[in-house]
């Protein structure tokens, strides 16, 4: 066994020299370090790095294939928080690597953690985990040798996958993103990472085993390890994080909700790449800051895609998909690309506008503006600015999203609303860019033209207009204290929130956050309250309307309904997103409101003289949501029927959920109430079978 702790100092490990300078740049005593550790969240990154509260871990910044092709994009050291209680595995507070291989039925020895030297030791060889050669070393063979060793070293794999997952988590928790601790979606606090789960063309998040599982594929002599692909790890961690912050998105409700999961996976990979200095530099060199050509950010999971899909990129953010072009698709991967493409368009256009408005002119340029030297930025600076801005634009809105059945439009609205909250003045007109992109992608078909006012029927109007005058006010401090207190608030506001009287509404989540604004200014604390209930839907065959539920005809399923309220710490409502249901207005009341609307529309004088009560704004809003709720119910039935007809749903009872013809959706029936569960990504492309699938071989 390698020497650990104090013994290490007495008897140095064999093998190469320690590859780093021990501890911090400044020598600190233990009590001082402890004191600094306690105020970690108040210190900036540079300080944390200097005083040894962060450490640099080597990881593949794209994947081994890229690393061997392009030394600049090989292994890079990323800064991570140095936590108390780090352990073998690696194991940190939220992540534990368990290197179990189901094919060989073996548990690979975990890399060891030296708690005195703050570094990893390979258990068999008793060597320190090596760091990459300095970039100053020009000899390619030295570099290649390191990469090839890293590819073969399972302990490097363990550290690599742990570090990337940890990095993604820290990235989301940062005040520039969500500004709060991110929970996992399962009952527990440590995500298990399995770097070599077995042979297969797969990597997935499995809620039930609290794990991310990474497989290896291809030539067995030199397999493609998904645990070494930065994009794949980031994508899968994105699934785990979204499951933590919006657990109901894993329920089967619509193709767009499943697509949103894929979108977050891809977005996570793109964001991490954007925030990588080396990748930005490489992109900048080849594009001079103009991102509109196919480039590294858009090349998601290159190696994995090449191996599994037989094409260069698994998916690309540079695409022309619109809601209309994917309207008949059941493929979450395909539908997700509408939003990935839209957000990438926004990134490209705000980066271009920033550069255009602030570009440094060459000294001899006639158009140089000598009076505004401070505004001049280089393409590289512009790219960094765009990366930083894009993170806030893309991740900040997640807290504003409804708790269930999210549609791509909900997220787009949240992006706008979040921008209004964090960038109210919008001098550069970025909001106009966002509106233009979302409309071009068909998220709203109102006919909006850039530079003009929003048409009355625009779906995005809701992001700009706000009215909570019908709400019963509660002290926001007490609402934030407990879920029960939050329930009292919801109960007092059932009508304005369109929560049916008979439904036992549930507080799905309650939390606050501390985010940074555009200029790293601290924004007011936000309180987020998510609530939900379920309405029963009967699956009844209706061949005239093309509804055929097969074996599940006559069973019941649930329509998830609910909303997310965001308040500032003064109790002002900042955002309200919702997925309404159909039961908040009893039939008789609906009838009465409709009659009054008709009376006032047909003959206002007569209605007035007959003292017919004029429909209130709240009543009209309730009816509006009723209409949405009914459409949702219709959409749900159509979606389920299509999924069943296309043979994408398997019964846990008759076909067995573990059948070799594993379907992406498994139905379990309890006393006539059916639950459709999305299988973990056991086969990544099952949903993508637009025609009849063919997973059988014998």
């Amino acid at each position: 066994m390698p020497k650990k702790s104090k013994k290490t100092k007495e008897n140095e490990l064999e093998g190469p020299q320690k590859p780093w300078k021990t501890g911090s740049a400044i020598e600190l005593t233990k009590p001082t370090k402890k004191g600094l550790y306690q105020v970690y969240s108040l210190l900036d990154k540079q300080t944390c790095q200097k005083v040894g509260l962060m450490m640099e871990i080597p990881v593949f910044i794209k994947d081994p294939l890229v690393a061997l092709e392009n030394p600049q994009l090989g292994v890079q050291e990323i800064w991570l928080r140095l936590e108390n209680g780090m352990g073998d595995g690696p194991t940190s507070s939220r992540v534990a690597v368990v290197d179990f291989n189901a094919d060989t039925q073996t548990l690979n020895e975990p890399v060891m953690w030296d708690e005195d030297e703050f570094w990893f030791i390979s258990p068999e060889k008793k060597e320190w985990l090596q760091k990459p050669p300095s970039k100053r070393i020009k000899r390619l063979e030295v570099y290649r040798d390191f990469i090839e060793k890293a590819i073969r070293d399972p302990h490097f794999h363990q550290v690599n996958v742990w570090a990337v997952v940890q990095r993604v988590l820290e990235f989301y928790e940062a005040p520039q993103a969500l500004g709060r601790p991110v929970p996992w979606g399962f009952d527990g606090n440590r995500l298990i990472i399995v770097p070599h789960a077995g042979y297969g063309e797969n990597a997935f998040y499995d809620h039930d085993s609290k794990s991310l599982q990474f497989y290896y594929c291809g030539d067995l002599e030199k397999p493609v390890y998904t645990c070494l692909s930065h994009d794949v790890i980031a994508h899968e961690t994105g699934h785990a994080i979204l499951d933590g912050i919006r657990p109901m998105y894993n329920r089967l409700s619509s193709v767009q909700t499943a697509a949103f999961h894929e979108f977050i996976g891809d977005l996570t990979a793109i964001l991490l790449a954007l925030h990588n200095r080396d990748i930005r530099e490489a992109v900048n060199k080849s594009t001079q800051g103009i991102l509109s050509e196919s480039n590294l950010f858009a090349e998601l999971a290159r190696q994995f895609g090449k191996e599994v899909e037989g094409r260069e990129y698994l998916r690309t953010a540079l695409n022309d998909y619109t809601m209309q072009s994917v309207q008949n698709s059941l493929s979450p991967h395909l539908v997700s690309q509408v939003l990935t493409g839209a957000m990438f368009d926004i990134l490209i256009r705000i980066a271009a506008r920033h550069l255009e408005k602030n570009a440094a002119e060459p000294p001899d340029s006639e158009e140089a503006v000598p009076n505004e030297p401070s505004r001049q930025v280089s393409p590289a600076q512009s790219l960094w600015w765009a990366a930083d801005r894009f993170r806030r634009v893309a991740l900040g809105p997640l807290d504003l999203c409804p708790p269930c059945d999210i549609q791509l439009l909900d997220y787009a609205r949240a992006v706008l609303r979040n921008d209004i909250l964090t960038n109210p003045i919008d001098r550069q007109g970025y909001r106009e860019i966002m509106l233009d992109v979302f409309h071009k992608r068909g998220l709203c078909t109102c006919g909006y033209e850039a530079g003009r006012n929003l048409p009355d029927n625009c779906e995005f109007e809701e992001a700009f207009l706000w009215d909570d005058s019908d709400f019963v006010y509660h002290d926001i401090g007490s609402v934030s204290r407990s879920r029960t207190a939050a329930y009292y608030f919801l109960n007092d506001n059932r009508k304005p929130l369109r929560i049916p009287h008979h439904q036992d509404v549930r507080v799905v989540d309650l939390y606050d956050n501390n985010k940074y604004g555009i200029g790293n200014d601290r924004l007011p604390r936000e309180l987020v309250l998510e609530y939900a209930w379920q309405e029963e839907v009967v699956l009844t065959n209706d061949l005239e309307n093309n509804l055929d539920f097969g074996d599940w005809n006559g069973k019941t399923y649930n329509l998830d309904c609910g909303g997310a309220l965001v308040y500032d710490d003064r109790g002002n409502l900042l955002s309200w997103s919702r997925r309404p249901g159909t039961e908040h207005i009893p039939d008789a009341r609906e009838q009465s409101i409709l009659e009054r609307i008709k009376a006032w529309k047909d003959n206002p004088q007569q209605a007035d003289s007959l003292k017919i009560k004029k429909p209130t704004k709240l009543e009209l809003a309730e009816l509006h949501d009723l209409e949405i709720g009914r459409q949702r119910k219709k959409d749900l039935l159509n979606y389920l029927s299509t999924m069943i007809r296309r043979n994408l749903v398997g019964s846990a009872l008759t076909e067995n959920r573990f059948s070799e013809e594993l379907r992406p959706v498994i139905a379990t029936d309890t006393d006539g109430a059916v639950n459709f569960e999305i299988a973990s990504h056991l086969r990544m492309n099952d949903f993508d079978v637009e025609e009849e699938g063919w997973p059988v071989n014998y």
Partner: protein
């Protein structure tokens, strides 16, 4: 029908059992390709063999003479019927097997490592499974039917005093010479000899030797898919026993995915036979699959589809129309190189050029002359066998079509009145006794 070449496709349910009687210079050469089915016992297969014996000539030892037995690949639906009792009174002259049967093949190390790993993973899953899951896994484990492998590789060769020949494109032509008439040719179009390179993405032994110098994960296939033997799995120290137990049972499910990959690999090692007889061309592709690469091309370092490989390496053999095609994999969409999917540009998929070459669409005003047959059965287990769209497409390209078949309407069925190839499962509808399945379909060529 003396002097005519006979192809008889027995109706064995979901499986292949094909008899060829090929007139040679001075005699008829009798060939059997496969004998197996997916569901049910072996009784029906035994009956087919008994029926077949009536066609075979007697030898001087009072046994029936079967000149050549070809077994395309080691899956139940192709070799389940190789029981000792069915063949005890048959003298087999030559035995050609897929290289997937050859465990000693130095070019198939990766292939075997994968098969072993899939089997182990399924065995492990079986050990922790119960109820329906256990049943499913055990069915998968029985897919290759070990007894049949033993029968084909050991018992039958010994009984007939012959050696099994594991055939591939690399088999020397003289070893494939079974006809006296030199103009009659039986060629092997697949699989290629270098199995790991073409169908498994590997680069053979060279790579193994180079990387064997380094330790850890790259010291050969066995370190990746090695046999753990009786090694007890250690418990991790960083998560609870309960969490590890739960994790293990979930990770085990990957066995199913592994079994799927292994199954594809076996299909791609199907022996593909091209019989050329007096200008007639008959193709028997086993269950060879095609892969949807961008241009239908073969990619280095990837597991490639057998049809893709064949199109690259044996294009001349595939470039002329066929007179007969045994439709692969019982009419599944992955075994006949054709798809209705269009490229984003709107063009047809390049893989379709293979089918266009083999079974071209007849010119306007002309009738198709080729024949094709699907040895198939529709089951609730795999409702998309055969693929309706493919059947309809083949129906446009061949002579022996049936528009009269009627299937219960569903998304999987071929719509009524659609011409499609003759199928073993539905042909009985056209007899006076539709309740009694037709025992076989026959085709004669002169």
């Amino acid at each position: 029908m003396a002097g005519q070449l006979l192809v008889r496709v027995y109706n064995v349910g979901l499986g292949d059992c094909i008899y060829l009687r090929v007139p040679d210079k001075n005699r008829d050469v009798h060939i059997l390709i496969d004998c197996g089915n997916k569901f049910g016992g072996t009784d029906l297969l035994g009956e087919c063999i008994s029926h077949l014996k009536e066609e075979l000539d007697e030898t001087e030892t009072n046994k029936k003479r079967l000149d050549l037995l070809v077994v395309s690949h080691p899956h139940e639906d192709h070799h389940k019927g190789f029981e000792a009792e069915f063949f005890e009174d048959i003298r087999i002259g030559n035995l050609w097997l897929s290289p997937a049967y050859d465990r000693q093949n130095p070019n198939a190390k990766g292939f075997y490592a994968l098969q072993n790993a899939a089997r182990r993973a399924l065995t492990n899953l079986s050990a922790v499974a119960f109820g329906d899951l256990k049943e499913e896994v055990e069915e998968l484990l029985s897919l290759s039917k070990d007894e049949a492998i033993d029968m084909l590789c050991n018992i039958l060769p010994e009984a007939n005093g012959i050696q099994p020949r594991y055939v591939s494109t690399g088999t020397p032509p003289e070893q494939l010479q079974i006809f006296e008439d030199p103009t009659i040719k039986l060629s092997i179009l697949g699989p290629m000899e270098d199995i790991d390179s073409y169908y498994f993405g590997g680069e053979g032994l060279q790579v193994t030797n180079r990387l064997n110098a380094s330790a850890e994960l790259s010291d050969g296939y066995d370190s990746i898919l090695g046999d753990p033997g009786s090694v007890e799995v250690k418990l991790p120290r960083n998560i609870s026993t309960q969490d590890f137990k739960n994790l293990r049972s979930r990770v085990h499910m990957n066995a199913l995915a592994l079994a799927e990959i292994a199954g594809h690999a076996v299909n791609n090692l199907s022996v593909i036979l091209l019989l050329e007889w007096h200008g007639r061309r008959l193709l028997f592709p086993g269950d060879a699959e095609w892969h949807e690469t961008r241009n239908g091309e073969v990619k280095k370092g990837r597991a490639n589809g057998s049809w893709n490989v064949m199109w690259q390496e044996r294009r001349a053999d595939l470039s002329r129309p066929l007179d007969f095609l045994k439709i692969g994999h019982h009419g599944s969409e992955n075994a006949t190189p054709w798809t209705s999917k269009k490229l984003r540009s709107g063009k047809v998929h390049p893989i379709n050029q293979i089918l266009d070459a083999l079974l071209p669409l007849p010119q306007p005003g002309q009738l198709a002359s080729a024949h094709a047959v699907a040895s198939t059965k529709r089951t609730s287990r795999w409702p998309s066998i055969p693929n309706a769209e493919l059947m309809a497409e083949l129906g446009r390209r061949i002579a022996n079509v049936r528009a009269e078949y009627v299937e219960p309407p569903s998304r999987k069925s071929v719509p009524a009145n659609t011409p499609q190839p003759q199928r073993t499962d539905l042909e009985a509808q056209l007899t006076d006794t539709p309740e009694k399945p037709v025992p076989y379909l026959e085709f004669f060529f002169s």
